[in-house]
Subunit: 127 residues, 2 copies
Amino acid sequence: MSEHAQSGDPNGTLPRHYLKPCLLLLLAEGPSHGYELLEQVRRMGIKGAEPGGLYRYLRAMEKEEMVSSWWEPSQAGPARRTYVLTEHGRGGLHDSVQSLRDVREILVSLLDRFDTLPTRAASGSRP
Amino acid sequence: MSEHAQSGDPNGTLPRHYLKPCLLLLLAEGPSHGYELLEQVRRMGIKGAEPGGLYRYLRAMEKEEMVSSWWEPSQAGPARRTYVLTEHGRGGLHDSVQSLRDVREILVSLLDRFDTLPTRAASGSRP
DNA sequence: CGCCTATAGATGTAATATGCATCTATCCGA
DNA sequence: TCGGATAGATGCATATTACATCTATAGGCG
């Protein structure tokens, strides 16, 4: 944001901002490892997610004890670090989701407000 | 985000990320000046909005010709800089809103996904 | 008038976050 | 044993943010 107002996500994908709730949700659905999480997160709409940030983020969450992990050998390819949600992480997910609900509401009202704009500005949704 | 997963907006307010669409929408509703926009933006849910960023942002948008502005004397207090949306800004609003719609959709599906989580994780929304 | 306060707006800067490229290591199959 | 795919980790240059500070003007007041 700031200096060049232009820069925001160009495609219309969910800002990387929501990486955290996504990861927590994914891990609430079951243990997983970085690479897989990366793909799932991308499939969820965070197209801009990239390995660097994701691995770092996972590590940071572990430091906060939202998740815990261990190495696990795999048949095919190098060992993986498997992550599971901790109890604390479950609480974090809950909080995140609450925030997201608030965001959704604001978003919805903002969008509604746009749709009821008097004139041509709302052309995308008018006959 | 990243390094310390804790840091994100704590309250659950709309990330300042959405400052741009908010400002464009507000200005699509009519001309306004910085101070007033700041308050409106805050009322819309972006509690974390602060003067510094907002004024800078307005200036940046003007450089991109999304808005244009001029000084206007006021009875009470110092002169204000009044901003109006340009045609180009109207287009920008349109694009922003399209992105926001996408975000909303992802958000909604993410939230649904949370609500259908098997066990206790979804305690906040189950009987 | 001289001073104080509230309103408006502009800037500087340190701390953080992100994006991107790169690096290591392991396994598989040819 | 070499090359490719899988996994994960890291370094570093930019971007972004939050905060504090600074200027300027109008209005009220003693």
